[in-house]
């Protein structure tokens, strides 16, 4: 069965055959092709031309359909960006709370429409700034947060009732979420009004980002505590952002990124259903996060395939009934890993192309990387160009005026099908292993990534993958690199300032109350209760992030990863 008339397909087949016999050889003899095989960044071989023959089995009505309708291939909303432009959400944070507060205000002033906080490594790992392990890392790759005090300063003068904030935080997610709640409460903003996202996706930490702390099972339990609590108490919050971004950055292919992310999502849904929740009571609050890499059409196809696959998983596997449960809503970040340290201004161009792919793929929000990120967290200058890149796409190019404009492209539809097909194969393999938690424990996705990233690097070395400024069109560009104005930050000064504040908080707080709240948390964790309400109490008592994490480590243990390379 096909949407095309059989006689048309036959005529087309004949035409293509004739073309291959007559037109093509003439062209090939005059202009031999540049390569024997053309492949996408993920290694999918692409032909020189696509026609209706390549998508003849794709039933438009069922597989592509209309935006805002199942299977959502063309977008989750009927009007997409004709109604509202995606949220421009720049991942930012460095130094202390004051530095970051200033940066957030700067970005909002220049047209940013959502906030996104980057934390430093000690914060990501639940270590206080005065811990010896934190030395040299405080405030370097993001903002340092030790206590509620820091969050109060970060959001000083920013109304949490009107902005939404993403927080890229994983094992300590319930702590940072609680701090946000406490700040909102102090500002007099009711819980029902606060909006934003906690990344809170533990499985991809084992696969890629590697800021894991707890072993897989308790890690998932804690993350799902937050989902459970948030759905009930903060209905506009996205308590999880199921992330492919880090998987891709760590070296996966687009297919692996998609498959592993959805497999992570499946594991979370299963956990919550097993806890006794109706799938329609929480599924609408699950959100996703993908990478947008440099192979333009492959990325667009990936986003389209992702929506179609998730809708099917929710509907057919989990029996979700509400329309919103079927939506794959996602944030996108352009590919940090595609940026080059060489000829850094070229990174503006790469980011623009990747951002365009994200928009053509129907993203809900977008971060664009800054040109100087191969070196350091972005300067104001570089961050502003990155933001302006989104604004140019949104308001000048016209690409936001038509919904899913690439639908019906024989190539894009074929590639969407192809990526979906290959991703299903991975998902089936993971299912046979017993799901993603088991697969992670066995090191399966980790091994797949190690292989893929090594393969990619070999291809770069062999010149099969070409990167301007790295293996082609190279130049002696030290002058250019030196002229890029990097963010001026003195880690020692930041660390001193941060530790001073931490000590001050510890001096002025009610230490008995801290101890009581931490003991209550320990008891609740041991009993297997939802730990979020107890963390909220500890946070309000100005317990430090490290103090809270230590209690949790004591109860749940820590993870040591198998070494695979």
């Amino acid at each position: 069965m096909t949407d095309y008339r059989e006689d048309f397909l036959k005529k087309l087949r004949d035409k293509v055959e004739r073309w291959e016999r007559e037109t093509l050889p003439k062209s090939l003899s005059r202009y031999p092709e540049r390569m024997e095989r053309f492949t996408t960044l993920s290694g999918i071989e692409v032909k020189r031309i696509y026609t209706p023959l390549d998508i003849k089995d794709t039933h438009y009505l069922e597989r592509i359909g209309l935006p805002g309708e199942y299977p959502y291939t063309r977008g989750i909303h009927a009007t997409m960006y004709r109604g509202r432009i995606w949220t421009m959400r720049m991942f930012s944070g460095f130094g202390t709370a004051e530095d970051t507060n200033k940066r957030l205000k700067f970005l909002v002033e220049h047209g940013e429409t959502g906030l996104s906080l980057a934390f430093d490594y000690p914060t990501l790992l639940g270590i206080d700034s005065d811990d010896p392990m934190a030395h040299g890392e405080v405030g370097v790759t993001g903002v340092a947060v030790d206590t509620l005090k820091d969050m109060e300063i970060i959001f000083d003068g920013i109304d949490l009732g009107t902005v939404t904030t993403n927080m890229t935080i994983n094992p300590p997610a319930p702590i940072l979420y609680s701090m946000y709640l406490a700040v909102a409460e102090k500002q007099g903003v009711p819980r029902e009004k606060i909006g934003g996202t906690t990344q809170n996706d533990p499985l991809k930490e084992f696969i890629a980002q590697k800021s894991y702390i707890f072993p897989p099972e308790p890690a998932v339990k804690i993350a799902m505590d937050l989902v459970e609590y948030s759905v009930k108490n903060t209905p506009k919050w996205n308590p999880i952002s199921i992330s492919g971004y880090h998987i891709r950055e760590a070296g996966s292919t687009a297919v692996q990124e998609l498959a592993f992310t959805l497999a992570d999502g499946i594991a979370y849904v299963r956990h919550l259903v097993e806890r006794g929740h109706d799938v329609d009571s929480f599924a609408h609050r699950l959100s996703f996060f993908f990478d947008s890499h440099i192979n333009f059409f492959e990325e667009i196809a990936k986003f389209r395939a992702a929506r179609r696959m998730w809708a099917k998983i929710m509907k057919e596997w989990f029996g979700a009934k509400k329309e919103r449960s079927l939506w794959l809503r996602f944030h996108t970040q352009t590919a940090g890993v595609s940026l080059t340290a060489q000829q850094p201004y070229n990174n503006i161009v790469r980011t623009a192309i990747e951002a365009l792919a994200a928009v053509l793929g129907g993203t809900q929000s977008l971060h664009t990387n800054a040109l100087d990120e191969p070196y350091r967290v972005p300067s104001e200058f570089a961050a502003k160009i990155a933001l302006r890149t989104q604004q140019i796409i949104a308001y000048e190019t016209g690409v936001a005026d038509v919904v899913d404009p690439l639908a019906g492209s024989y190539y894009v539809e074929w590639l969407t099908n192809k990526i979906e097909e290959e991703a299903w194969r991975y998902i089936e393999r993971i299912e046979r292993m017993g799901g993603m938690i088991e697969a992670v424990r066995k090191g399966y996705p980790q091994k797949e990534l190690t292989e893929a990233s090594y393969r990619f690097q070999r291809e770069v070395e062999e010149g099969i993958r070409k990167i301007v400024g790295v293996n082609i069109f190279t130049e002696e560009d030290e002058e250019e690199i030196r002229n890029v104005p990097l963010l001026d930050i003195d880690p020692n000064e930041v660390e001193e300032r941060q530790i001073r504040r931490l000590r001050e908080v510890k001096r002025s707080r009610d230490n008995t109350r801290v101890e009581t709240t931490l003991n209550n948390l320990r008891d609740a964790a041991r009993k297997g209760e939802n730990i979020v309400p107890y963390i909220l109490e500890a946070v309000k008592a100005y317990a430090t992030e490290g103090e809270i994490m230590n209690v949790l480590k004591e109860v749940y243990g820590v993870w040591t990863e198998p070494i695979i390379y």
């Binding site: 190690t450 990167i467 030196r482 390379y565």
Partner: protein, 142 residues
Amino acid sequence: MTITETERIKVLVAKLGLDGHDRGAKVVARALRDSGFEVIYTGIRQTPEQVIEAAIQEDVDVIGVSILSGAHMTLMKRLMELLREYGAEDIPVFLGGTIPIPDIEPIKRMGVREVFLPGTSLKEIVEMVRQAGLERRKRRGW
């Protein structure tokens, strides 16, 4: 040079500091291994103390450090101090990662042999490590 000579060169590949970006370290470890080196990869989140102890315990010829957290100035300073404290300053140390150009000279002054920026080819890394490893072996009269 024969394969056996290379095989004897022992390299410690270490992720120093808190960042979990292990893609580069693993790719380099794998490339060294495929080129006949004996490679020990420490895994992530190592302190300078742990790296030096591992290097001495395993009697390695070369240390390769990867840092993408921006904490390289503090961590490398400590690592090189410890190397001297342990009397192991004859072990050549390489650093790879997202290192701003202005930081390269100060890092080299600490005694780090070379800093590899993103985009460096594996071939170049393997050759430099081989050279440094062989030199050290020669100095020790192997």
